[in-house]
């Protein structure tokens, strides 16, 4: 596994994958996928009363004859869904070079697969200098992405423009921060038809090593804590971590999303075939 963005690995995997889009109506621009909004497709969406200014060609004359009221046929829009990839640019994502690389690779993979799928990828990175890029600019942005934000994802989202309606939103972060996880998930899922929380975790996040006393320093706030890393202390960490994961998972489900945990120690290929299988389904586009 590379401790740097392995674009080659991404390039190898992307053609055979597709993003798992949600079955419900999507949101996005005009395209070939049914949208949740009304439009001018042939597929009927609904009927409503005529209002001045409506297109007279949409009047349902049969309904008019039956009811002596001007009834309008509302047709579904045929939209083209977008994929939005939100990357947490906080310092904890760079706890190790491998963790940072894994986050970049997963974000890039989502963008590449989405692009191949005809989903216009949009990348939002919440670093010190937050940025929003689209299309082919996502790769370059991920190459130069610095995980240097001193605040957590929830706080950093305030620096981003409001989320737009999209078909799929993939949030890449470690989600290891104290926050109202349910509110966070609700906010992140707003406007998205599908929603995935991809949690990238370092080996030390999953299973910290014990031993001597350590001066633990929070990667983002800089707060320090002297602790003797005994078995009891490590066990207590594990308990708290499990509890945090449970809450995170529940929050994701409540927002009709899914939490996918990606250990950075695994290769991209293993992640795609394992933990990230719900997101990256087989069957790609040329």
């Amino acid at each position: 596994m590379s401790e740097r963005l392995d674009e080659a690995a991404v390039g190898r995997l992307a053609p055979g994958l597709a993003l798992a889009l949600p079955r419900g109506p999507h949101r996005g621009r005009v395209g070939e996928v049914r949208a949740a909004s009304t439009g001018s497709s042939l597929e009927l969406h609904d009927f409503r009363a005529y209002q001045p200014g409506d297109d007279l060609r949409q009047l349902d004359w049969n309904a008019v004859a039956r009811t002596d009221e001007l009834i309008l046929r509302v047709r579904q829009d045929e939209v083209s869904p977008r994929v939005e990839v939100v990357v947490d640019g906080s310092r904890s994502m760079a706890l190790s070079a491998r963790k940072a690389a894994c986050a970049r690779e997963l974000a890039l993979l989502a963008c590449e697969v989405g692009a191949r799928q005809g989903l216009s990828p949009t990348l939002l990175a919440t670093g010190v200098r937050s940025e929003r890029v689209q299309g082919s600019a996502c790769r370059a942005a991920l190459r130069t992405l610095e995980f240097d934000a001193g605040d957590d994802l929830v706080t950093a989202l305030g620096r981003l423009p409001p989320p737009r309606a999209c078909g799929l939103r993939v949030v890449v972060s470690d989600f290891l921060f104290e926050a109202d996880l349910a509110a966070m998930a609700a906010r992140l899922s707003r406007g998205a038809a599908g929603f995935f929380l991809v949690q990238v975790l370092d080996a030390e996040d999953l299973s910290p090593s014990g031993g001597e006393g350590a001066r633990l320093v929070d990667s983002e706030s800089g707060a320090a804590l002297e602790e003797l890393l005994t078995e009891d202390v490590l066990a207590a960490y594990a308990r708290r971590f499990e509890e945090h994961q449970r809450l995170l998972r529940a929050a994701a489900l409540r927002s009709r999303g899914a939490l996918l945990t990606a250990p950075a120690t695994e290769s991209l290929d293993a992640l795609v075939r394992g933990a990230l299988r719900p997101l990256f389904v087989a069957g790609g586009h040329a």
Partner: protein
């Protein structure tokens, strides 16, 4: 500030690991984690957080250091200001003459006592010292509660020249001065005799040694005219020389051009005494000396000129012939009686009805008594007066307190001012022809002699009280080797035995010297050094210098400070978490 237990300051050593741990932690390699909140509720440290929390570690270090210091101060029993620890030590030194005895190394017992006292003061770290000297009249040498240096300096100038005495009263006094639970150190030259009840807190330290000694145990001088008769008694205590040379040096008297010096060999057989009597002509003060031995002080005596002071007796006019003849016969045979009135004080004997000091005679109807006679027992005028076989004719009762009575007749009386009345009609009595007459008159003369201003005896030895006669209302000063002290005139006065031998002079404020007396350093019990020994009898009860006593006296404020520091540290660290 003082420390009762300075070793307690070793607890300050705990500051070293405390500070080391503080800096060690600061240098501990930081481990960056993604989520500190998963480890514990984080305590913000210096790198971040509000200003208060930034210095939590430093505040905690200061409070913990303060706690260590407070604990060390408590363990060291710190005292501040007036509550600084005071350790009072009471020393008692035997003030008897035998303390001046020299050991085989030439060091006196008193000097050894001084050294031991200084060592005791240092060992017990005394901050206050009281030094008492035993004697017939215990006295304070230093203190109470003097500074140790002053007390030891006073002990350096102290000389032990007193007579033999019981030290227990002084030890009891020292016990009271020392207060409950404190030790008293007693330095003497002999172990306590068996059966002696020593006060419990007294540690008895005997520094003496058994030595042989030859001493003067008696020295008297009597001057009659120009002839001085010196009587000496020499005693040997222990096996020693069988003869000793007594040196006498007589300074020239008023009528002599030069003094004389004589050496007399005295044979001392066994362990007895020898008496030596010598006469000198026109001699002034006579110095007697024996060869120096273990106790040189008891081998020296200075005998001042001690002329007799005859009592001037005068017979008043108007006395009957019988009375005059009887009195003249007595006065002619009585020693040290002068008939002329040249001396200031005259004993006037007169007939009844006069203001003479002694009246002889009867008035009114005469009655004759042959007994029984009732006398006031113990009255000095009636010492050895036997009235058996006496026929006493008396007249009217004289004034004053009855001394001798027969029936309701008062035969001899004494007034408050000392006037004596002999209610006797010698024409009908035979008292003047029996031994009672000269004995009675001799007592009268003796009492009259005793009533003269000055010392009753001019030569005394150690331990004898100083008896003198003063004029009521007058102010006197007694000057002696130990200084001078005032004496208020109150007639016959008996002063405590002088603490040291030497010459004592009685001076009256409106006159020069009234009289002088010599106290000789002679005491057979003190000269006997055979029973001296070296011993150390510890006190029967433990003293205040045990650690237990200090627990209740320890200052509590370090504990309070310790508690506050710990609470503060707990609050600081708890609040940060």
């Amino acid at each position: 500030m003082s420390f009762g237990f300075p070793w307690g300051l070793l607890a300050l050593g705990a500051l070293v690991p405390l500070v080391a741990a503080y800096f060690l932690r600061r240098r501990q390699k930081p481990v960056v984690v993604s989520a500190l909140f998963l480890w514990r509720t984080p305590r913000p440290r210096a790198e971040a957080g509000p200003r208060w929390e930034r210095f939590t570690r430093e505040a905690s270090l200061l409070l913990e250091g303060l706690a260590v210091i407070a604990a060390a101060l408590y363990l060291a029993d710190v005292r501040l200001g007036e509550t600084a620890r005071t350790k009072h030590l009471v020393l008692v030194v035997d003030g008897s003459l035998s303390m001046s005895a020299r050991g085989p190394d030439g060091v006196t017992v008193l000097e050894q006592a001084r050294r031991e006292a200084a060592k005791r003061v240092e060992d017990e770290a005394a901050t206050r010292v009281t030094v008492l000297a035993t004697g017939l009249t215990p006295r304070v040498v230093a203190g109470p509660e003097a500074e140790p240096s002053r007390a030891l300096a006073a002990l350096e100038t102290f000389e032990a020249r007193g007579a033999d005495h019981d030290p227990i009263p002084t030890l009891l006094w020292a016990q009271e001065l020392a207060s409950t639970g404190k030790h008293v150190a007693f330095f003497t030259d002999a172990a306590p005799v068996e059966g002696l009840v020593i006060p419990a807190p007294v540690r008895w330290t005997a520094l003496g040694a058994a030595r042989d000694n030859v001493a003067l145990i008696s020295a008297q001088r009597k001057d009659d005219g120009g002839t001085a008769t010196v009587t000496l008694r020499v005693a040997r205590f222990g096996p020693g020389p069988e003869s000793v040379a007594v040196r006498l040096r007589a300074l020239p008297g008023p009528d002599a051009k030069q003094g004389t010096e004589r050496v007399e060999k005295v044979s001392l057989q066994g362990e007895g005494t020898a008496t030596l009597r010598l006469t000198f002509q026109n001699a002034g003060d006579i110095e007697v000396s024996l060869p120096d031995d273990a106790l040189p002080e008891d081998g020296h005596a200075r005998l001042a000129v001690a002329p007799t002071r005859p009592l001037a007796v005068s017979l008043a006019q108007g006395m009957g012939s019988l009375e005059r003849d009887a009195l003249e016969r007595f006065l002619g045979a009585s020693p040290e009686v002068a008939r002329d009135g040249a001396s200031g004080e005259v004993l006037l004997i007169g007939p009844r009805g006069t203001d003479a000091k002694v009246t002889v005679g009867a008035s009114g109807k005469s009655r004759t008594f042959v007994g029984p006679f009732f006398s006031e027992k113990g009255h000095p005028l009636l010492d050895d007066v036997q009235l058996a076989g006496v026929r006493w004719s008396a007249g009217e009762n004289p004034p004053g307190r009855p001394l001798v009575t027969a029936g309701d007749a008062v035969l001899v009386s004494e007034e408050d001012d000392g006037r004596v009345h002999l209610n006797v009609d010698l024409s009908r009595s035979n008292v003047q022809r029996v031994s009672a007459w000269p004995v009675l008159l001799g007592n009268v003369v003796r009492e009259a002699r005793r009533a003269r201003e000055g010392f009753v005896r001019r030569q005394l030895t150690l331990g004898e009280p100083l008896q003198l006669v003063t004029l009521p209302g007058k102010r006197y000063t007694l000057v002696g080797p130990g200084g001078s002290k005032p004496v208020f005139g109150a007639g016959a006065v008996s002063l405590p035995p002088p603490a040291a031998p030497g010459r004592y002079v009685l001076e009256r404020d409106d006159a020069d010297t009234v009289d002088s007396a010599e106290v000789l350093a002679l005491d057979a019990r003190e000269s006997d050094l055979r029973g001296r020994s070296n011993a150390d009898v510890p006190a029967k009860e433990s003293g205040e210098d045990e650690a237990r006593a200090n627990a209740s006296d320890r200052a509590r404020w370090p504990l309070v400070l310790l508690l506050l520091a710990l609470l503060g540290d707990f609050y600081v660290t708890r609040r940060a978490s």
